[in-house]
């Protein structure tokens, strides 16, 4: 086992790719392909559990580090590491992996072998993205994600799949190419592609602004942040269920992960200066996404727009630049991965039965499929942030962390606006729920079978995790906090004289000392 545990990160990242090769080589029948793929995904999950078990909670630095020279005489390296943030996102990925494959068990009936291989390759790319500690390696994984996803949407998608796939691909590429130039520039300055060396760069404010903009664009498109979100509904709606789940569950997290891991700590001054703009966009996205979701006629599209709204929260939390807000951001990433992933799975369930997702086609489904309705409601509630379920933990930390952030101007106004998203979220989700599940059961929906055992098997783990994350997020946060402190350290270093958290008496973040004085004087 030592050869596995010594390179556990590599194994975790590439086990799915190995599985993909196996699927291609040995998956002669669809059934065999599915089984091999599931086995690979499960094996990967086991590997990631090993990570969780041996992760040192109090250590915020990268663990299980692997380093091997790759290019340019080692200036570019195959460098993997795992800190608290990566840990959870990797776990999310490996957790959803088998479920996604299970969900595609029947839904993908043709060209199963390719589909399974793409799913597994995608998983490798995603895990690699979370683990890479070398900028070029990161970029390679980042871009490599596009290809399998592109095929998943384009081949197994819905009516307008081609349009959606190309749009997805091009949008994401637009952002990332600028990031590439920025990476190159930094590489030139730093003399190495190592993230650690990038962090040592001393850049002027102007340089930081440009670089930050280039990075942020890439990530904002991936998130997607309003107004870069237009690819998302198309991609989601056209993608097959498995694709949507991965897209919503993990792929969107890449953007927020990138912001947190790279854009903010690499360019702290720019993050302070430009972050508020992104925070505003995030809030606009929260509200906009919710409003647009409200008028959707297609369940999947509604869920897609809800993602825009939810990820707005994440971005807002990240740009509070406080540990609390960022922790909330990460929790919300996981929560969104679970709840929206589950929602897409559920939409897939009904789509498999009725081949439509139009809200108007349904009504009263709770009569025909009570278990399905119950699960759907449960996930809906998680999605709208009911306390005790995962969504609340994230939203709470984000909003609370942002509220008193001394580093984000107008933080309280932003939170107040963002919090309306909580109300709006309830409106559109429950309205959808009402129209789909409540009321009288239509003729066409009579006799629809309830959840099958396989569907239960897919959903149940997610439901359990939704509760676990809502009730007992402490172990998660415990491992997250040291890493976040470390990541946000460059920002903190700039404003070390300020307390980054706390209410100031109507004094802007720029004069925290004055604010403290005012507070004291008032007493």
């Amino acid at each position: 086992m030592a050869f596995i545990t010594d390179h556990i990160l590599t194994w975790t990242a590439f086990a799915p790719a190995l599985g993909a090769v196996l699927v291609l080589a040995a998956g002669r029948t669809p059934g065999a392909a599915r089984r091999i793929a599931l086995g690979a995904a499960l094996a990967d999950f086991v590997l990631s559990l090993h990570l969780l078990r041996h992760f040192e909670a109090a250590n915020g630095a990268d663990q299980f580090v692997e380093h091997a020279p790759w290019l340019a005489g080692g200036k570019i390296a195959y460098s993997l590491g795992l800190d608290g943030v990566s840990l959870w996102l990797v776990l999310l990925t490996t957790f959803l992996g088998p479920l996604v494959i299970l969900s595609a068990w029947r839904a993908i009936a043709e060209r199963v072998r390719e589909a399974m291989a793409f799913l597994l390759l995608l998983q490798t790319a995603m895990i690699g993205t979370f683990l890479a500690r070398d900028m070029l390696l990161f970029y390679v994984f980042w871009e490599a994600m596009l290809i399998p996803m592109y095929f998943l949407i384009g081949i197994w998608g819905g009516e307008r799949r081609v349009y959606a796939a190309v749009k997805f691909f091009l949008f994401t590429m637009v952002g990332s190419v600028f990031m590439l130039v920025a990476i190159l520039w930094c590489y030139q300055q730093a003399g190495s592609m190592a993230l650690a060396d990038f962090l040592q760069l001393e850049l002027s404010r102007g340089q930081q602004s440009w670089l930050f903009a280039a990075f942020a664009l890439a990530f904002a498109i991936k998130v997607p942040l309003f107004p870069f979100h237009t690819w998302l509904p198309d991609a989601h709606v056209e993608a097959p269920t498995a694709g949507s789940v991965i897209l919503a569950g993990i792929l969107l997290k890449m953007g927020t992960y990138g912001l947190l891991r790279f854009a903010i700590p690499l360019f702290p001054e720019a993050a302070l200066a430009l972050g508020p703009w992104l925070a505003w966009l995030a809030v606009i996205g929260i509200i906009y996404g919710a409003l647009v979701a409200m008028v959707q006629q297609d369940v999947k599209k509604l869920v897609a727009y809800s993602s825009v709204s939810h990820l707005g929260f994440v971005v807002l939390g990240l740009f509070s630049l406080t540990t609390t807000g960022a922790a909330g951001g990460v929790v919300q990433m996981l929560a969104h991965g679970l709840s929206t992933g589950a929602l897409f799975l559920l939409v897939g369930v009904i789509y498999e039965r009725r081949h439509t997702r139009q809200i108007a086609e349904f009504g009263g489904l709770a009569h025909a499929m009570p278990a399905y309705a119950a699960v759907f409601l449960f996930v809906t509630l998680a999605s709208i942030g009911l306390p005790g379920l995962c969504g609340f933990t994230g939203e709470f930390l984000i909003l609370f962390g942002t509220f008193g952030s001394g580093l984000l101007p107008h933080a309280r106004l932003l939170v107040a606006l963002a919090a309306t998203g909580v109300v709006l979220g309830a409106i559109y989700m429950l309205w959808m729920y009402q129209r789909v599940f409540l009321g009288k059961l239509g003729e066409r929906n009579r006799g629809l079978p309830d959840l099958s055992v396989r569907e239960w098997a897919v959903l149940l783990p997610i439901l359990v995790m939704i509760v676990a994350l809502g009730v007992h997020p402490a172990p998660l946060l415990e491992r997250l906090e040291p890493s976040l402190e470390r990541i946000l350290a460059p920002v903190a270093a700039i404003r070390q004289t300020e307390s980054s958290y706390g209410l100031a008496l109507g004094v802007s973040a720029a004069q925290p000392a004055a604010a403290t004085a005012a507070l004291k004087g008032d007493r």
Partner: protein, 584 residues
């Protein structure tokens, strides 16, 4: 940190109903009806018994150390934000816990009969148990976040139960409306919580739960600059939950749910959560006279306004619904004038008689084959031998007739409003009380007196409800009569034990933490007379000491007995005198 007794039974008070719900929910299909119902009742009953036991233990403690605590661990702890997954029971929680589990148990039993023929029987009990769980979480939560968890949880159960008969689009819409309106309130709640937390966080030492009520109480002086904001935002949450203007709109629609639900959630327990929360946060509210005024005015206006609406309703449940809104207004009024104990007292008595009224109404509806329009009832007096007298008891209790429960609580509120120097508020409340008596009498007359206006077929089927329904009615009737005696006021020769019991809770906030032992008593001699309308600005350099705007607390009267007549303003004659005039 005050010492407190650890008591792991608290968690079971909360979790047993959850277990009941879980068992029922997971075995939804396979569970026989009877078993499901009994399981649910047993769960709530157990919860009740545990509560009683806990209260007994609590009462055994020295008054100012009356606090039972239990913790399931830390919910989250990040960057100084430490939130316990903890439960605590003090005197206030104890009252609420008993009311919720007690009334809840009765309504569970009632529902066994009421829902006996409903296809969603098991589901119904699942939801009910879930609700008790959430409500107990709200009541026993050790901190504001736990309270919020329960707060949202009851909102959810409310949603589920209102749209219980979701076959009707209207019911589903009503449930959704309730949830969303509550969410608007929650928006304020969240923000209020954030302001509070953000103001506290920089001042906390390690290990203190950020939103813990004890922490808040210990750090009130840090909250002073933000008290108004916190109080008002939280109050926005309370208006949602407790159906105050302007967020009362959901409650009448909520009558779409089964009647036991209306009794339990939309009359007895959940809707009073807002009042409970304000009472719980009294230490913050008293810091902000402005916020108190807003609470009081909102409560008073709601009380009157809802009463006027109730006058015009023909649906028996709608009348009761608006009556509930009105009574909630009284509770808010009490909180707004600083009479938290009176507010909570009214919460309790109201729980008894309003649950009784709703269950009685349910019995009527049951008898009338689902008919809810009072214009099509009449003459049920003889046909419903148990329902009729119990209903009448509820009515007079609500109307505030001496010596029924409603008299003591409502009277206390009005008196406190007056003595606080707010004759305007008192007048509004007084008018509302008159209207209450009027519309309740109208309801009774229309329903039980005269000749039946129902169709032949319905008339033929009218029958008294089974014992599972009538026994709870009877128990509640007893409580509606005797429940108020706990707060028998001094001027009638009592000791107002209820207020005494709660006094430490509400005294805590008013005592500067600098002093080692908060003692409400110590303030008593200083406040023999009513304070001026506008408070003097707090002395700078020291923490703004909350000003008692009412002349006395329970302890005041306990320690400095004065002639009751002096306390009673002439214009504020006790309700019994007023009720007959309002009654036609």
């Amino acid at each position: 940190m005050e010492s407190h007794a650890l008591d792991t039974s608290l968690r079971w008070i909360v979790l047993v109903p959850l277990l009941g719900a879980a068992l029922n929910g997971l075995l939804l299909r396979r569970m026989p009806r009877r078993a499901a119902g009994l399981l649910a009742c047993a769960a709530v009953g157990a919860s009740f018994l545990l509560s009683v036991a806990a209260v007994v233990r609590l009462a055994g403690l020295e008054p100012h150390h009356r606090l039972l605590a239990d913790s399931l661990g830390t919910w989250l702890d990040v960057a100084g934000v430490r939130i316990e997954l903890g439960f605590a029971m003090d005197q206030l929680s104890a009252v609420m816990a008993l009311v919720v589990t007690g009334v809840g148990f009765l309504i569970h039993v009632y529902s066994l009969g009421y829902m006996a023929h409903d296809p969603g029987f098991n589901r119904f009990f699942t939801y009910l148990n879930l609700f008790i769980f959430a409500m107990m979480m709200l009541v026993l939560g050790e901190n504001l976040v736990m309270l919020f968890v329960g707060w949202e949880g009851v909102g959810l159960c409310s949603y589920l139960l209102i749209s219980f008969w979701f076959n009707e689009e209207a019911n589903a819409a009503a449930g959704k409306k309730a949830f969303i309106v509550n969410r608007i309130g929650d928006f304020g709640f969240l923000l209020g919580m954030f302001v509070l937390g953000a103001a506290l966080l920089p001042h906390l030492a390690g290990g203190e739960g950020l939103f813990s009520f004890r922490t808040i109480a210990a750090h009130t002086h840090h909250l002073a600059p933000w008290a108004t904001a916190i109080a008002l935002l939280l109050f926005l949450g309370a208006t949602g939950k407790s159906a105050q203007i302007p967020l009362y709109v959901w409650l009448p629609d909520a009558m779409a749910g089964p009647t036991p639900v209306s009794a339990l959630i939309h009359a007895a327990t959940m809707v009073t959560a807002g009042v409970y929360m304000i009472a719980r946060m009294n230490m913050v509210y008293v810091l902000s006279p402005a916020a108190m005024t807003v609470v009081a005015v909102t409560g008073a206006v709601t009380a009157l306004f809802a009463a006027t609406i109730a006058l015009t309703q023909n649906d028996i449940k709608k009348v009761l619904a608006y009556s509930t809104v009105s009574q909630l207004g009284y509770m808010m009024l009490a909180c707004g004038v600083g009479a938290f104990a009176a507010g909570i007292f009214h919460v309790m008595t109201h729980a008894f008689f309003k649950a009784l009224l709703f269950l009685g109404a349910g019995s009527v509806i049951h008898a009338m084959s689902g008919q809810q329009d009072m214009r099509l009832m009449g003459g049920l007096r003889r046909k419903l031998p148990v329902t009729w007298p119990t209903f009448l008891i509820g009515t007079v209790a609500l109307a505030g007739v001496f010596p029924f429960a409603g008299f003591f609580s409502k009277d206390e509120i009005l008196w406190k409003a007056f003595s606080d120097g707010n004759p305007g508020l008192w007048l509004v409340g007084f008018l509302g009380a008159g209207l209450t008596a009027f519309y309740m009498m109208r309801l009774v007359v229309l329903t039980f007196f005269g000749d039946s206006r129902a169709s032949e077929e319905v008339r033929h089927h009218v029958h008294e409800s089974p014992a599972t329904m009538t026994v709870p009615l009877a128990v509640l009737a007893v409580l509606s009569v005797a429940g108020g005696w706990l707060g028998w006021p001094h001027f009638l020769g009592g000791a107002n034990r209820f207020e005494q019991w709660l006094a430490p809770v509400f005294a805590r906030a008013r005592t500067p933490p600098a002093r080692s032992r908060p003692q409400a008593r110590s303030t008593a001699p200083r406040r023999p007379t009513a304070p001026p309308r506008t408070p003097p600005p707090p002395p700078s350099g020291s923490w703004p000491r909350p000003r008692c705007r009412w002349p006395c607390s329970a302890s005041t009267r306990a320690t400095a007995p004065t002639p009751g007549g002096r306390r009673w303003p002439r214009s504020c004659t006790p309700s019994p005198a007023a009720s007959p005039t309002g009654c036609c």
